[in-house]
């Protein structure tokens, strides 16, 4: 199921930020990051995806849980990854506004 209508990410600035990080860490052309683009087609190595997830976690101070059934392969498309991060971000906003620990790693 496509998490984004019209294969477009819209104008959420958080998404732009996520895509910037993803493009940088995976050394992928930012323009190719459409919701339905698969990580396989983009040639994203699993290690680079791990680095991208780590950076996104650090920048937004969130934890992106591993999907137990398929660790390391839970995101097959850019859209799925972005949707997952946004879900975590929205959940965090409801839970606690704490900024503790931000920037503690690096």
């Amino acid at each position: 199921m496509m998490p984004f209508a019209h294969n477009d990410f819209g104008s959420d600035p958080r998404i732009a930020r996520i895509l910037d990080i993803f493009a940088k860490e995976t050394e992928t052309d930012r323009a190719l990051l459409r919701p339905d683009a698969t990580l396989d087609d983009l040639g994203v190595a699993s290690l680079d995806l791990t680095m991208a997830v780590f950076e996104i976690e650090s920048v937004f101070d969130i934890e992106i849980p591993v999907v137990a059934a398929q660790p390391g392969a839970e995101f097959t498309t850019v859209g799925a990854l972005v949707a997952h991060v946004i879900t975590v971000l929205d959940g965090k906003k409801l839970e606690t506004p704490s900024q503790a620990g931000a920037g503690a790693t690096g």
Partner: protein
């Protein structure tokens, strides 16, 4: 058994407290320079010692791009810099990729280990960097060297504490001699001067507060060093055919275990390893012209090593110089044997004996010619390099001047 196969050392790279190249190492050795200095790279408030033989002025960014740097600990950085020098721009393209291997001493990514757990336990970090495991793994230096040069044959790391890189070189030697491969990048790297590990060494009460004075009556312990040395070993005929510049020939390797004490050296185990190397090379004790000793500078090691040497060499020891270059480059742990093998090869080539610096007074328990304080010319033909490790693991290499 293809006993006709011989093994040449055709490349040497090194980065140590005496400088960032093998030439700098050798210049330091022949001028009796001391790489042991006040510790500069880490905070020392919590340490009992203030001196170490650090690699100074090393800027990883001049050797690796930022993306690659996130994946390699200092341990692997040093190994790669030494390997590049040893290869001198040479490619392995002429070889079947599986005929070239990499065997290095196992070396943990201590800087990553130390900083990760400091941030986790000390600073309550929420997460560790995804590259923490690949940076720490003790085979990382060997893996990175194999990737850099496309060596696709036998590749692994040997673990025997302070003899690790001597075991690595010995195994690479045997595997080339036996026909399993034709070329090997071998040796080791170590970057253990981090607060946690230095604190652990403090606890063993074997560190000198100021200097490493092997065989001297007033010696008071060892000094930790860091660095890397990589040798290119090559099947002799192959090296000759391509007109390679041969530094020296590796002719024998012996290894034994004390199966006794955990940290105390054992003269019998050490002597048996030296005898095994002699026997492997079919060389008699009297034919050896020089020994690069393990010579850590602790009371017990040096005395025990001299007893072992006396047992193996008998009266010949009175005429044979034995020195410890650790007095200059420190005890480089997993890299020590490789750095010392490199120095031994260059000593054969140059006909110059490395000195034992910091020597002040003879010790009746160490009645040897330790080439005190100044290098000396000597047309040596056969030399031995000793490594004796915690855990009672002994490894000895025998080298011959290239001819």
């Amino acid at each position: 058994m293809t006993s006709a196969r011989r093994v040449a050392i055709t490349g040497i790279g090194a980065i140590t407290a005496l400088g960032h190249t093998a030439a700098a190492l050798w210049n330091g050795v022949q001028s009796g320079a001391c790489g042991i200095r006040p510790i500069a790279n880490i905070p020392t408030e919590r340490l009992a010692v203030s001196h170490a033989a650090e690699v100074i002025g090393f800027d990883p960014a001049t050797h690796f791009d930022s993306r690659r740097l996130t994946t390699i600990d200092r341990t692997s950085q040093l190994a790669l810099v030494a390997a590049r020098e040893a290869m001198a721009g040479r490619s392995l393209a002429e070889l079947e990729p599986a005929r070239a291997g990499v065997i290095l001493g196992a070396a943990i990514g201590q800087e990553t280990f130390d900083s990760s757990y400091k941030s986790l336990y000390g600073e309550n970090a929420k997460r560790l960097h995804p590259m923490t495991v690949p940076r720490i793994m003790p085979n990382a230096p060997a893996s990175h060297v194999s990737m850099e040069f496309g060596a696709r044959g036998p590749c692994f790391a040997t673990a025997s504490a302070c003899a690790s890189s001597t075991h690595a070189i010995g195994l690479a030697f045997q595997m080339i001699r036996s026909g399993m491969m034709d070329l090997a990048l071998t040796g080791g790297s170590d970057a253990s001067i981090v607060v946690g590990f230095m604190k652990a060494w403090d606890a063993l009460r074997v560190l000198s507060p100021d200097a490493c004075r092997p065989f001297s009556a007033d010696r008071n312990g060892l000094v930790i060093g860091e660095g890397a040395a990589i040798l290119v070993l090559e099947e002799w005929h192959h090296a000759k055919m391509r007109g390679a510049d041969i530094h020296a020939e590796l002719i024998g390797f012996g290894m034994t275990a004390d199966a006794g004490e955990l940290t105390a050296p054992d003269a019998n185990g050490a002597a048996r390893a030296m005898q095994a190397a002699l026997s492997d090379a079919a060389v008699t004790a009297d034919e050896v012209d020089y020994v690069n000793a393990h010579g850590t500078g602790t009371r017990l090691n040096d005395k025990t090593e001299v007893a072992a040497l006396r047992h193996v060499f008998g009266p010949h020891l009175d005429a044979m110089p034995v020195s410890s270059s650790k007095s200059m480059h420190g005890h480089c742990l997993n890299a020590g044997g490789a750095i010392e093998a490199a120095i031994t090869a260059l000593a054969l080539r140059q006909g110059i004996l490395p000195p034992t610096i910091g020597f002040r007074a003879p010790d009746p328990d160490c009645a040897i010619d330790c080439v005190p304080n100044e290098a000396r010319h000597a047309p040596i033909q056969i030399a031995m390099s000793n490594s004796f490790a915690f855990g009672g693991l002994n490894a000895v290499l025998l080298l011959r001047r290239a001819a």
